[in-house]
């Protein structure tokens, strides 16, 4: 049954915080909220919803449905993701009072190394500070030693329980409507009715299919298959070969959009994104000399753990209806980057709307959808930027120019780092794609790029000097 604001079966209409109108769907004292999924989106939603409810004096209860404890090593306790918390998100979370302790951050990242077939360049963070966090979503890869660490998802889930959310350790098997209110069914046959449900199940969950009904306008997001694997290298090897840098590869391999090697504790996580990544693509990538050069003896070890998770590459259609909202991966995401940042943004927008506006479809359209629309518009610009990146991947003379320009900016202190800042933000996902694009409109940018294209391709010995720029 599809709920509406004026369903006859609804005895009590709730008033929103600002508008005391009758017949309005909003949370009130005693309201129950169900969250499907205890990943970052679900935990952020619960955390902010409770904090905001507290600030306006609203007494609500929040149940997070998450069967996993995130305490098992390997896939059983993992949420299958590259596990990078972007520079901007680390800062925003600190502003919100959410700090990431060393038990959660497996490595602080302070720089990027861009690898291409014409050389490599080291791009430092402007402040020489660890502001990117490499984290495990679960409790570490298979075969990892049991050490005193906490996965990122577990850390956020604990934060939300500290502020009062309750974690229900049950698998959600069904969803329905009861007199206009959403109902969550679990594997043990129990069914609980809520005033509001937030779906934060991710794109790899079966429950999304059930919500893909014509009764609601929601259509689940478009996805691509990615590849994530873990290599056990040991702390000393990681310090020596990868350091505190995230290694990004711009290689001319068909169907490959983005590849990164991320150091974490004793392990390095390899993350490949592209057009349905398969074994053939993985093999061609691992066989390149640029990738082999990142490992001792130029030998890529056998991964101890790997998965092919699906990632959100096209926004869900209408991720909201009366009394239900889709957040994180199951709604709208940033293209290829900063998935955890998107979870934070959409979860917080949904919580803000639920507390300060209401929980009807119209409320979510006014309060929650603009945040999603911003991400969608930015993703359109991202497609343009990734189109240019693909062009650079395909054309060697472009790679030479880009690499030369970046290397010279990094070498010369005080020089305005135009290309470095563009590459930094494209890789880290820290700035909106629109802002990155606008930065390339700086009058000096095309001139400097053109000069470096000419010189970089005339003087082939530059290859050597670019390699030397690595610290």
């Amino acid at each position: 049954m599809r709920p509406t604001a004026k369903t006859a079966g609804q005895q009590k209409y709730l008033a929103s915080y600002f508008e005391e109108e009758d017949e309005r769907l909003a949370l009130a004292d005693g309201s129950r909220i169900g969250v499907i999924g205890g990943g970052p989106a679900g935990s952020f939603f619960a955390y902010f919803l409770i904090k905001m409810a507290e600030s306006v004096g609203l007494d609500i209860s929040v149940d997070i449905y998450e069967p996993r404890f995130f305490a098992h090593r390997g896939p059983a306790g993992c949420n299958h993701c590259g596990g990078v918390v972007s520079e901007s998100l680390v800062q925003l979370l600190a502003t919100e009072g959410i700090n990431l302790p060393p038990t959660v951050v497996r490595r602080g990242i302070d720089s990027y190394v861009l690898h291409t077939d014409v050389g490599q360049v080291h791009i430092d963070t402007p402040l020489q500070e660890m502001r990117i966090a490499a984290v495990y979503r679960g409790n570490g890869p298979k075969q990892s030693e049991p050490v005193d660490i906490a996965g990122f998802d577990r850390h956020l889930l604990d934060l939300s329980t500290k502020v009062g959310a309750k974690v229900v350790r049950k698998l959600v098997t069904g969803f329905d409507w009861d007199h206009g209110k959403p109902q969550i069914r679990t594997a043990d046959g129990a069914a609980v009715i809520y005033d509001l449900v937030a779906v934060a199940a991710g794109v790899n969950s079966h429950i999304l299919e059930q919500l893909n009904s014509p009764a609601m306008d929601y259509q689940s997001p478009g996805t691509l298959r990615a590849f994530i694997s873990e290599f056990h290298l040991g702390q000393a090897t990681i310090d020596q070969w990868l350091g505190n840098s995230m290694h990004v590869f711009l290689l001319d391999i068909p169907r490959l959009e983005f590849a990164a090697l991320i150091p974490k504790g004793d392990f390095a996580t390899l993350c490949l994104l592209g057009e349905d990544v398969d074994e053939q693509l993985i093999e061609s990538f691992l066989a390149t000399p640029e990738v082999k050069a990142c490992f001792p003896g130029a030998v890529v070890p056998t991964p101890v753990c790997h998965c092919f998770p699906r990632i959100n590459v096209r926004a869900a259609v209408r991720p909201f209806a009366d009394r239900i909202v889709w957040i994180g991966d199951s709604g709208v995401n940033r293209l290829f980057k900063d998935g955890i940042g998107s979870a934070y943004r959409t979860a917080k927008a949904a919580a803000r709307t639920a507390i300060f506006r209401g929980i009807s479809k119209a409320d979510f359209e006014k309060g929650f959808w603009p945040e999603c629309r911003t991400l969608i518009v930015d993703n359109r610009i991202a497609k343009l930027i990734f189109g240019v990146t693909t062009l650079i991947q395909r054309l060697r003379f472009l790679r030479r120019g880009v690499l030369r320009m970046t290397a010279r900016e990094q070498r010369e202190a005080g020089k305005h780092r135009l290309m470095s800042s563009v590459l930094w933000d494209v890789f880290t996902g820290s700035a909106p794609y629109k802002e990155i694009l606008l930065r390339t409109f700086h009058p000096v940018f095309p001139l400097r790029l053109a000069w470096n294209l000419v010189v970089g391709n005339m003087v082939r010995t530059e290859h050597k000097s670019v390699k030397e720029s690595r610290k």
Binding site: Q91, A94, P102, R107, L127, R131
Partner: protein
């Protein structure tokens, strides 16, 4: 400290921000303690000691003023820089981002108000972390001695004499009237 910490590690006594410098960022303490030092006419005064989880330097985000105090690490401390640009870009999309900052600033104002109200002239400051609200203390003392300002004329001798003559003349003309 482990390689897993966020931000930058400062050694004991290392200056994180310096009073009088311009600033375009604020800071979040990830680990350890820092002390806030205010330099005045009478030397340095420790204004506060802040701990893990607290934010400082936020005034630079909202005002275009120079740093109002020096901040130093008290023991080894790890501090994360939050860029003004990152914060302002996001806060105009999500004003609730400022809730935590406003709550924190509100707590500080409440604490300082309480301490000013309870401050007795000549007594030691109430809490250990706010070691000296010396400026406030001096102001209270000044307010409690208004007679000094009235009775003590600090003007130069010439001005004092001229004023006395003016007042004397006015009184004489009033009497004659």
């Amino acid at each position: 400290m482990s390689s897993g910490g966020m931000g930058k590690t400062y050694a004991d006594g290392e200056v994180i921000v310096r009073q009088g410098e311009s600033g375009d960022c604020m800071f979040a303490i990830q680990k350890g303690q820092i002390e806030v030092i205010r330099r005045g006419k009478d030397g340095e005064v420790r204004v506060a000691v802040l701990e893990e989880g607290e934010i400082f330097g936020e005034m630079a985000i909202f005002e275009r003023e120079a740093r109002s105090a020096t901040v130093r690490a008290l023991g080894e401390a790890r501090v994360l820089t939050v860029d003004k640009k990152t914060f302002l870009r996001r806060v105009q999309e999500d004003p609730s981002l400022a809730f935590n900052l406003v709550r924190m600033m509100s707590r500080r104002i409440r604490r300082l108000s309480g301490e000013i109200a309870e401050l007795q002239p000549g007594s030691a400051p109430r809490s250990q972390d706010t070691l000296a609200l010396t400026d406030a203390e001096r102001q209270i003392e000044r307010r409690k001695r208004p007679e000094r300002r009235v009775t003590k004329d600090r003007r130069s001798g010439g001005n004092r004499r001229m004023d006395a003559e003016r007042r004397g003349g006015a009184a004489a003309s009033a009497r004659s009237a």
